[in-house]
Symmetry: C2
Subunit: 202 residues, 2 copies
């Protein structure tokens, strides 16, 4: 349902985000942003950036990077950060780290922030950050170990070590706020802005 | 992740709800409730039941029906109703009806109610109704026709004529409230109660 104006690019290697756009009928080419995310995050944390601002800054960095190489295109950068009491959590990367993160999140409330930034010709021209609030129940360690057995490697690359669309939903007692913050892209706001610019049909 | 207590049955022919439970790791047998939904809804409407109460009553009817034939089992009934200013919308069933419904929903706010009732030995023992509030933007008729072309028969059997996980998301300017009301089953509350009864691991 795109109009034939500026080409749309998703500056991402995330299959989930590409799939979200495709299912919504928004045609975008995917270009890897080649940003060293770990290094960028470490610098942002050292500078005292709040988790929400880390997501926003990473999304801008990815959008700018690809935009600089694609004159005239609208380039979407996106990032998701988990915030537990002001501390940003990384993707766990291993079973041990996922287990440790989930034990810290157990019985507590955390936020997920999903930021999107659109850049054109190397400069950001639109941005939005969506927020969801999630409360984990006080599950048993036996439950946790079985959960990790059943989910396997699928959760090592997800922020917080859970997928709410899979067994991860059983970790939660309450989920509030913007569901698109959980999915990883503020799709309604992005689509609304793309319509205003003429990139999507009204 | 079920415990080995009472068997769990989903009184439904909905592939979506069966899939939601399966992905969450909740093992349930699916048994069609053989309730004449259209007749039951017509009776509820004639009796002046509000859309929310129609969803709750239909969920109870399905749970009771299957439960009466499955002694000792925990039987989950579920139903979803769209409420526009107090009027309940049915699944459109055809392109013409989907188009008419979407034109009525355009530019307005409606609610989705998803009810779940658990019955045992023919009597309801637990119930919950989840609510989401959705605002449709003022899309053009050209957009609507293209949307209907692209979605095809997939939307004839969805309440309101849209799937938010597909192109339907482009119909909306705002989505608030409980996402599980949109998915069609209040999963967090159901799972919490199943843990209390011992049917799910804590």
């Amino acid at each position: 349902m795109n109009n034939s104006s500026a080409p749309l690019i998703l500056a991402s290697t995330s299959a989930t985000r590409a799939d979200m756009l495709a299912r919504a009928g928004i045609v975008a080419a995917c270009v890897p942003p080649r940003v060293d995310e770990e290094e960028a995050k470490a610098a942002l944390r050292a500078a005292g950036a709040a988790p929400r601002d880390q997501a926003d800054a990473l999304a801008e960095m990815k959008a700018r990077r690809v935009s600089a190489r694609a004159p005239g295109a609208l380039v979407i950068g996106a990032d998701q950060v988990l915030d537990l009491d002001g501390e940003a959590f990384d993707k766990p990367g291993s079973r041990e780290e996922a287990r440790a993160q989930l034990l810290r999140l157990r019985g507590a409330r955390h936020h997920l922030f999903s930021a999107a930034v659109v850049a054109r010709d190397g400069a950001p021209i639109w941005r939005h950050v969506a927020r969801a609030t999630l409360t984990m129940r006080t599950f048993s360690e036996a439950f946790l170990d079985r959960y990790l057995d059943e989910e396997g490697e699928a959760v090592f690359s997800t922020v917080g070590g859970y997928r709410v669309e899979a067994r991860g939903v059983q970790l939660f007692s309450r989920i509030e706020g913007d569901w698109f913050a959980i999915l990883g892209l503020p799709l309604l706001e992005l689509a609304a802005w793309l319509r205003v610019t003429g990139a999507l049909e009204e």
